[in-house]
Symmetry: C2
């Protein structure tokens, strides 16, 4: 893609309404545009990043055997009355009356709807266990939407639902999702801490939040740095090993502000291992057994032909929120550096262009074509602008690798720079292998 053709409305001004750095960056680099309070359009740059995050989330859901489907955004109030949550949900639920006077709503979450799908589809124990998920827009009518896509009204979320025969079996599904979540955040280059959590309006008695570390996080986190040393590769994908994995994580001290107790912290965590940091919630998983299946009569025949209620859990990841959270974790000292796995482009070519000399641009175009042929997703900055402005701009766009076509190139060697590091002279072949690894 040529930068001059890319729909990327970059602004130089720091937007006054943006209070946190991810919101500022996303507006400045034209990743998003607000259309009304708490509701955003995703412009091409932001969209590309979100889609890459979505793809990783999807792959890690599929890899633990979850099946993708898609529920609609608009739901009938009937099923919410069945579960008893229609009145509980309050004003955050966007309630709608259709032309025939039916009470509808924009789904803030999908426990009711998936239970409805399940009860009309599955009748026998033979079809269990099942994990279904979808990645769909949700709506919460926040009274004070803020921080850009971090706390907005219309947001993109992956929510999975597990269905099992017994509480014991259900814990196995829970552990699979626990594993999938940690793998997902790893691939996004984020340090995630699973923390035991309150269940809130979803209900149940077992729940974990996944918090990633970022200086601007909203909640204060206390933990032991050992938690970052656990290697997921040491666990196999079977029930026993995944049980061990969850135990290994959850036996390590973690606490948020509300639960923090200094004496306890000092007793359980060696001074040199104590981590006090800030974090952002990016995922939340719940086990609530038959909280929905009983009132909604979601029953199956067990081996003896007896009707039993299905045991359920739900598992959410904020896909649109993760775009902002990744920025909070990676944008420092006026430089944003996207993790390779979700960068909007693999590499950017920055030629030094002047009115009288188009030689660098031509050279850049040649490199561009060469990289394209190898399926490298490359951005070419063909804008006629001085190099110092260009560098400032690319510090914000955040593509981690740059090929600079200017005075420093020597023979067939090119100036190559990884953001936050010094530039070096490398052959194009060496650059390709750097980008690809």
């Amino acid at each position: 893609m040529y930068l001059s053709k890319l729909f990327i409305p970059i602004t130089k001004d720091l937007p006054a309404e943006a209070k946190i750095k991810s919101h500022q960056l996303m507006l400045r680099t034209g990743m998003i545009k607000q259309s009304s309070a708490g509701i955003y359009s995703w412009l091409p740059l932001g969209f590309k990043v979100m889609k890459k995050i979505e793809k990783i989330v999807r792959e890690e859901q599929n890899s633990v055997g979850a099946q993708e489907m898609l529920m609609p955004t608009i739901q009938s109030s009937e099923i919410w009355k069945e579960s008893g949550r229609y009145d509980d949900y309050g004003e955050e639920m966007l309630r709608i009356t259709d032309r025939q006077g039916r009470e509808m709503l924009y789904g803030p979450t999908n426990e009711e709807l998936i239970t409805d799908v399940f009860r009309s589809s599955i009748k026998s124990y033979k079809s269990l266990p099942q994990i279904l998920y979808h990645i769909q827009w949700k709506f919460r009518d926040e009274i004070r939407p803020r921080f850009g896509v971090m706390r907005c009204k219309e947001f993109y979320m992956k929510d999975a639902y597990s269905f099992d025969l017994s509480d014991e079996e259900a814990k196995k599904s829970y552990n699979k999702m626990f594993f999938s979540y940690l793998k997902t955040f790893n691939r996004l280059g984020l340090k995630a801490i699973p923390m035991s959590a309150e269940t809130g309006p979803i209900g149940g008695d077992l729940s974990h939040e996944f918090i990633i570390l970022a200086d601007t996080g909203e909640s204060k986190i206390y933990t032991d740095k050992k938690i970052f040393e656990i290697n997921l590769k040491n666990y196999k994908f079977n029930d026993l090993s995944l049980k061990k994995m969850r135990e290994d994580f959850t036996q390590i001290y973690t606490a948020t502000d509300e639960k923090f107790d200094k004496d306890d912290f000092d007793k359980k965590v060696e001074k040199k291992n104590q981590v006090i940091a800030k974090g952002i919630e990016v995922g939340h998983i719940f086990y609530f057994s038959d909280k929905y299946s009983i009132p909604m009569n979601c029953m199956i025949d067990d081996k003896e032909g007896k009707k039993i209620s299905v045991k359920m859990g739900s598992y959410g990841i904020g896909v649109s929120r993760l775009v902002a959270a990744t920025i909070e974790a990676n944008y420092n000292n006026d430089v944003m550096k996207w993790p390779k796995s979700i960068s909007p482009f693999d590499v950017v070519i920055i030629p030094s262009i002047s009115k009288n000399n188009k030689e660098n641009l031509q050279k850049a175009e040649k490199i561009y074509k060469d990289l394209k042929k190898q399926n490298i997703d490359v951005l070419l900055d063909d804008v006629d602008e001085n190099m110092s402005n260009k560098f400032k701009k690319h510090d914000l766009i955040g593509v981690p690798y740059q090929i600079i076509v200017g005075s420093k190139s020597e023979g067939s060697n090119l100036e190559f720079k990884e953001l936050n590091l010094k530039s070096e002279l490398l052959s194009l072949d060496n650059i390709k292998s750097k980008i690809k690894t």
Copy 2:
């Protein structure tokens, strides 16, 4: 995927509420489930097909230089008041009042919102032309939703918007989309006819519908069979060649019932070439110049620094509707055969299983693993059921290729069947190359 694990609630009964064959098939094979009138969940089988269609639509949009982004589903009424369409749209628009009393709506289309994004982002002629698109859920509060996802309330649509400096330039964008649409439908294995059309509530003076042939189509079509002989490969991707392409298509006689004139038809189309068929609309494109840019003040500076209104067009493809339309075009004599490009699986393995003999199942599992390794997306029917039932079921699921593991296999040769054709004995290597080509 093992069929016993797939979330695919197959029903044997012909659903009474379904009047057309695509709706019947989608319910019977568990592709969709209605959640309320005109609103559906997409279960894994249906979801996979829709995603494959979406991918082809996306690739063909990208290949003509359109850039993907994503607008929200919920819009403010303000921009619709600016364009003047808020009152015109009537009861099909799902109107919503949020908790702060603001008038919002669920977007039925996005001309207003994209114009709003564009006017605040692009100020100079240098950034034109641009084509932006998104693939997003839309809502039309149909008074009588029917025919399943063919005429439902919440539907998935690709809509693109072009922005140009002059009417003449805009026609070039229009031709690009025209080309992209025909390529898209070709890849879906559909015979599509572009027909000059009314512009309706979108407005403008140039418009084409894309109609695909299907016996159960809602509109009657009269055309010349020469229209199916035009080869898109004869055109190059440049303005002149695409102009020629549109002329070549539009000079051929096409008419719907309303415009049909028998004398005219007989005069313009040789008897032996006359095609009288039924069709389903799957795409619609519009050129409406400054219908939105003038009232919404979407202006840019031209070369002389003068403010001029941007010239716009819009281009829609019904992605969810295409799933049903493809079924209407391909489901005949109780056999559904998906085009390879969008089949939910590449191939299905059907072993003959009995309680006392699991040998065929084991053999099938070995083939399954082998095909998986080659990235072939394979379904294994491990359900304990007689072969005649299995074949009936797979006639509906519609995977075009079957490997039948039973009595007819000879040595290393396997029984291989393409739906609607006779089975043959082939080596696994030959089968693989058949599937892949």
